[in-house]
């Protein structure tokens, strides 16, 4: 288990335990983290699990693949550090990961 911290658009943070191998989106849903809708359930088909990855963690998380980049077109307020959390797999290397959720998903 590793720690992931979710901070919402208003600045409230929640640190939860994440299972290695799960996705960041699944971790959020299992822990009832607000700000992640995940309408499609992790199929990279809806862009409602949009997060901003903390700059310090960008290299560890890695870049989005093309399908995810395409799906980000459906998200709002997209920034260079935007990712879809259903496409980020939790690894030991991501222990301490910090992400922020946007003001609106869908």
């Amino acid at each position: 288990m590793v720690d992931i911290t979710f901070t919402d658009a208003k600045g409230t943070s929640r640190t939860v335990k994440a299972e290695v191998g799960a996705t960041v989106m699944e971790t959020a849903i299992r822990n009832s983290v607000p700000g992640i809708d995940a309408e499609c359930g992790g199929a990279c088909s809806c862009a409602t699990c949009h997060v901003y990855v903390d700059e310090a963690w960008l290299a560890a998380v890695g870049p989005a693949e093309q399908m995810e980049e395409d799906m980000l077109d459906f998200a709002f307020e997209v920034r260079p550090n935007s990712r879809l959390s259903c496409q980020i797999k939790v690894t030991e290397a991501l222990d301490g990961l910090k992400v922020t959720t946007p003001s609106k998903q869908g």
């Binding site: 309408e39 199929a43 409602t48 980049e69 709002f76």
Partner: protein, 342 residues
């Protein structure tokens, strides 16, 4: 006014399979869906994704499941009303003999003995960008779809997005618009290559504008838009004159008018009885992801079961004087005749 035994709201997998279970009991159904196609989330969100938990199918795609369901229910000749949203439901009967008058946004009217809500996560509706004050312009200057092309003639139109909807409307409106500005967050477009090429050649000729950036603000008065602020990735902002804005950010699911039908919603879900899947209103049933009861699992297979049980109770409303004898499709010649196989 269309008279039907049952009106099913939602043509996803669960609504489609309900047609089968109703059909075996000689109950006819019409289906309404806001999407222009059958299949609900399976067809809209994950047509190519494999599903692994449909009994009897170790692996099947979303679209594959819908295609099979359509084949399976074809003998019962279901009537579809696609691209329409049910907007009102009025009770015209009694608890013992319910009847409902149901109207869609396209003006289609139904007189139904029973209504089955199989609306899944709600109706798919256009995503609305979180731009401050955008609501004030919706309807007049901000459009998520165009019903009458002519209404856009001579306008400065800003289209936002990079998929087929954005590019198709760019191409369609270009001949009648005063000027088209296409705004997209990156210089990569998912739309069909020939549309992208047409757009790029117009931009090269100076016949339209392309801006890489995101809309962050709107200016105007009394619901009439005058300009939009577009911010680029480097933080620079520019104000673009426009009197129509068309954002294309895909679809999201919203509960919609169901919330107003007196069904005692619990967390945006419709509570249903687990023996019949009838709601608190006699004659209105809820099956699939839209319902809630203790132990509910949002699985397609659960929705199939719910439809089968609901059909038994629906039979009592549609044929109050007939006794229902339970039969199997494997052994009943009468059921096999209905299926066209005996």
């Amino acid at each position: 006014m269309i008279t039907t035994d049952v009106l099913i709201i939602g043509a996803g997998p669960v609504g489609l399979f309900a047609v089968f279970e109703l059909g075996l009991l000689d109950i006819k159904a019409h289906l309404v869906d806001i999407l222009p196609k059958r299949g609900g989330q399976c067809a809209e969100l994950y047509p190519e994704k494999p599903i692994y938990d449909i009994p009897g199918f170790p692996i099947i795609t979303g679209q594959g499941l819908i295609d099979n369901l359509e084949t399976q229910i074809a003998p019962f000749n279901p009537q579809y009303h696609l691209g329409e949203m049910v907007t009102s439901l009025v009770s015209r009967g009694t608890p013992e003999a319910p009847r409902f008058e149901v109207t869609t946004d396209a003006g289609t009217q139904f007189d139904a003995k029973v209504v089955i809500i199989a609306a899944g996560g709600g109706s798919f509706q256009p995503k609305k960008p979180p731009i401050a004050g955008i609501e004030a312009y919706e309807g007049h200057s901000v459009h998520y779809a165009v019903r009458k092309m002519e209404s856009m003639r001579g306008k400065n139109i800003m289209i936002v997005g990079g998929g087929d909807s954005a590019l198709d409307w760019t191409l369609n409106l270009k001949p009648i618009a005063k000027r088209i500005t296409l705004v997209h967050r990156r210089d990569v477009f998912r739309a069909a290559p020939h549309s992208v090429n047409a757009m790029r050649s117009w931009v090269a000729e100076g016949a339209m504008d392309l801006i890489i950036g995101q809309v962050t603000g709107l200016d105007g008065a009394d619901g009439v838009l005058s300009s939009a602020v577009v911010r680029s990735d480097d933080g620079t902002e520019q104000k673009i004159a426009c009197d129509a804005l068309m954002p294309f950010f895909g679809l999201t699911m919203k509960l919609g008018p169901i919330a107003e039908w007196g069904l005692n919603l619990h967390e945006n879900l419709v509570p249903a009885d687990t023996g019949t899947f009838e709601t608190s209103v006699p004659g209105i049933f809820a099956i699939g992801d839209i319902n809630s009861y203790p132990g509910k699992l949002k699985l397609i297979l659960s929705g199939f079961h719910e439809g089968a049980l609901a059909a038994q109770k629906v039979h009592r409303y549609v044929y109050p004087d007939k006794k229902l004898a339970f039969q199997y499709t494997t052994s009943s010649t009468s059921l096999q005749r209905k299926l066209g196989v005996a």
